[in-house]
């Protein structure tokens, strides 16, 4: 005697299994693609935020330093198209008994490896103090290659990833930061700002 339904529960046909496995593989593939895209997006977003955040912080620090100094103490004097990747200055700390009080000489510069922004106090002296403000700097500004030509159309030639252009008491700062992703791609962020020296007193006093 046949018991209805028993036959259907006995197992799957090979066709059914193949279809099931096929569907599973397609689904797994899709999920993998989506997960990879999400991971890549997350990695990109995270790296972008890190780059922008670091670029903003470095620019803010440099701008604050420039604002605290006097246009006459800035070295070098690099009006466009001249430019520099280092800035030597002294910050006015305040006035005491009618006399201007200046900080020790400070320098903001690109390291020799062209990858780091260094802040140095008393540079090239035994008392030198140094702090790395960023280690993600691009050797050359975004769109620029060292070929003696203005590749990125900013009127500067072969400018480094940290560039200062000084116009009297106004300093334009440009910075390009870069980070390599796990898949070999490179993310670049470029920011620029202009800061004006707010101090008019000179080394001689107010």
């Amino acid at each position: 005697m046949k018991v209805p339904g028993l036959r259907r529960n006995a197992g799957f046909t090979i066709i059914e299994l193949l279809i099931a496995v096929g569907l599973f593989l397609i689904l797994a593939n899709k999920v993998t693609v989506v997960m990879n895209a999400a991971a890549r997006f997350t990695e990109d977003e995270s790296a972008t935020v890190v780059l922008e955040d670091q670029a903003h912080r470095v620019l803010d620090r440099i701008a604050a330093a420039v604002m605290g100094t006097n246009g006459e103490t800035l070295v070098p004097d690099a009006e466009a198209p001249a430019h520099s990747s280092q800035l030597l200055f002294q910050v006015l700390l305040g006035i005491e008994e009618g006399e201007a009080v200046w900080s020790d000489p400070e320098q903001i510069a690109l390291s020799e490896s062209l990858r780091k922004v260094l802040w140095r106090q008393n540079p090239d002296t035994p008392e030198e103090t140094r702090v790395v403000w960023s280690n993600l700097v691009r050797p050359y500004l975004e769109g620029e290659v060292p070929n003696g030509v203005d590749d990125n159309g900013n009127n500067l030639v072969d400018e480094n990833g940290l560039t200062f252009v000084i116009d009297r008491n106004r300093v334009t700062i440009q910075i390009s930061l870069t980070q390599q992703q796990s898949d070999g791609r490179t993310l670049i962020r470029t920011l620029a700002t202009t800061a004006t020296c707010r101090n008019i007193v000179t080394q001689g006093g107010p």
Partner: protein, 505 residues
């Protein structure tokens, strides 16, 4: 019918499969949850870092707003203190307060801005400028001598050129007014019937100076005021500039000094040669000599020129000194030399009229015969040669924020106090204040004591202020003569002459 043996329907197999879907589902849910938690954490970290940067920037701007508010307070007769840590000012999404410290003519404003997790502290130092140039076209701290045939009158360059304000109805070209002169020393006016000296304005004598004038041949259209207090003259501020070696220029090609700030040990312009200084410029020279038939062109078309002379300026007879815009506001000649009774540090005998503000607080000035000046001449002592003409530009002594307001001498970023810097939560909570009860910026200023004196006219006596509270008659006010700031009510006897003290609290 033979009964079929009962088939085992596999209850055991079924039992082993029961709940397997749940296990897979749980694993999937946990995986998704872990992934989601990671993403949320990452997103939150990203968001936190972004908002920290934005908050710090907002705090910086709040501190800047605080400095601006403190400066405004100083300009409007307050101490510069705005709110305090105990009662800050609510502004935008955050708060700020400004601490003001007054010391030896300087005011230090420290402004603290807090916005969410952002913290910033900035400081400026301002130098008080209580007095600008005295409101006279000609002023000397020591004796002043005017030779026959001199004309002194005034005009206002903001209303147009001198020629538009002058007429010849008196038989010679003059505006007929506002040629005020004053001295802390004696004033000698010489004139003859044939060659009279005309002063179209008032004469003020302070510090015990005496006026002596020839009986005939001297016309003073205004009044003579004696017995006033000695007036002060601000000293010359010498900018610190890189100095180039001395230059002696000769030849047909002009020497052009481009816009900017530069110093020279000396500049000597030989006959038939020209030096052109292009504005905007600050030029510091030890000695400046313009020979006969030589030209010094001060090109103020591009901006103002400030010429600071450390030792001597000598424009020889027949020389040419030209201000291209003929606007005295754009050319300032400041003589920093202290000639201590020797030869005048500033000798002017140029063939062309000079449009300039000339100041020599520690040096004597000699204007030679026939010289003409549009602007202002203030010096330690002076001799004005026969036939000279001085046209006082009233616009030069009109009070402005640049001459009467506090002068910024220092700006710096300072440390945020540690207890506030370490707590990065809501600033209102950190300071323990209720946002809704905090004052607005304009309501949070701390007042101070001022001693103010107005004049009723040029050289006139000071206004008695007893009517201040009863309805001050502003129609009597000619200009602000003097004000002095006190952090506390001034001691009795500080007033030297009739004035009044008004607490602005």
């Amino acid at each position: 019918m033979t009964p079929q043996p009962m088939q085992r329907l596999g209850p055991c197999r079924r039992a082993s499969n029961r709940g397997s879907a749940l296990v897979f589902a749980l694993i999937a849910v946990i995986a998704v949850a872990i992934l989601s938690a990671g993403l949320i954490q990452l997103s939150s970290a990203i968001s936190r870092r972004s908002s920290e940067t934005a908050d710090n920037k907002s705090a910086f701007y709040l501190a800047e707003a605080g400095l601006a508010e403190g400066y405004r307070g100083l300009m409007t007769g307050n101490t510069g203190q705005v709110g305090s840590a105990a009662e800050p000012v609510a502004f935008g999404n955050g708060l700020f307060w400004v601490d003001a410290t007054h010391e030896d003519g300087f005011v230090r404003l420290e402004s603290f801005g807090l916005c969410n997790s952002g913290r910033a502290a900035l400081a400026i130092v301002l130098e008080r400028q209580v007095e600008g140039d005295p409101p006279f076209g000609v002023f000397s701290r020591e004796p002043l001598e005017i030779r026959p045939g001199t004309l002194i009158d005034g005009y206002d360059s903001e209303l147009g050129a001198y020629a538009e304000q002058a007429d010849s109805s008196r038989g010679y070209l003059t505006t007929g007014a506002n040629g005020h002169l004053a001295s802390n020393g004696d004033v000698e006016l010489h004139g003859t019937v044939a060659d009279p000296t005309r002063v179209h304005g008032n004469i003020g004598l302070g510090g015990g100076g005496v006026l002596s004038s020839d009986e005939r041949g001297v016309l003073v259209s205004g009044e003579v005021f004696t017995g006033g207090a000695a007036l002060e003259m601000p000293l010359v501020h010498v900018p610190f500039l890189p100095t180039l070696p001395a230059v002696t220029h000769s030849g047909a090609m002009p020497l052009v000094i481009p816009p900017g700030k530069v110093g020279y040990t000396g500049i000597k312009i030989q006959p038939h040669s020209e030096v052109i200084v292009q504005g905007p410029a600050t030029l510091v020279v030890e000695t400046l000599e313009v020979a006969s038939d030589a030209t010094l062109t001060l090109d103020t078309l591009g901006g103002a020129i400030k010429l600071v002379v450390l030792a001597t300026l000598n424009a020889q007879p027949g020389s040419f000194i030209v201000n291209t815009t003929a606007d005295p506001k754009l050319l300032s000649v400041e003589v920093a030399a202290d000639d201590a009774g020797g030869a005048p540090a500033f000798e002017f005998a140029a063939a062309t009229p000079l449009h300039a503000r000339i100041r020599a607080p520690l040096a004597n000035v000699r204007l030679h015969r026939g010289s003409e000046l549009f602007g202002l001449l203030h010096a330690k002592g002076m001799t004005i040669g026969a036939g000279a003409a001085l046209h006082f530009d009233r616009a030069l002594t009109r009070p402005t924020s640049a001459t009467h307001g506090p002068r910024l001498v220092s700006w710096s970023v300072v440390e945020v106090p540690a207890p506030i810097a370490q707590r990065r939560s809501d600033p209102f909570e950190v300071l323990g204040v209720d946002r809704n009860t905090l004052p607005r910026p304009a309501e949070a200023h701390t007042g101070l004591w001022l001693e103010i004196r107005y004049r009723t006219g040029p050289g006139q006596s000071y206004i008695d202020a007893t009517t201040w509270y009863d309805g001050f008659d502003w129609s009597l006010v000619y200009d602000l003569w003097h004000y002095k700031v006190y952090d506390e009510p001034p001691p009795v006897g500080v007033l030297l002459y009739v004035g009044y003290q008004v607490p602005l609290r």
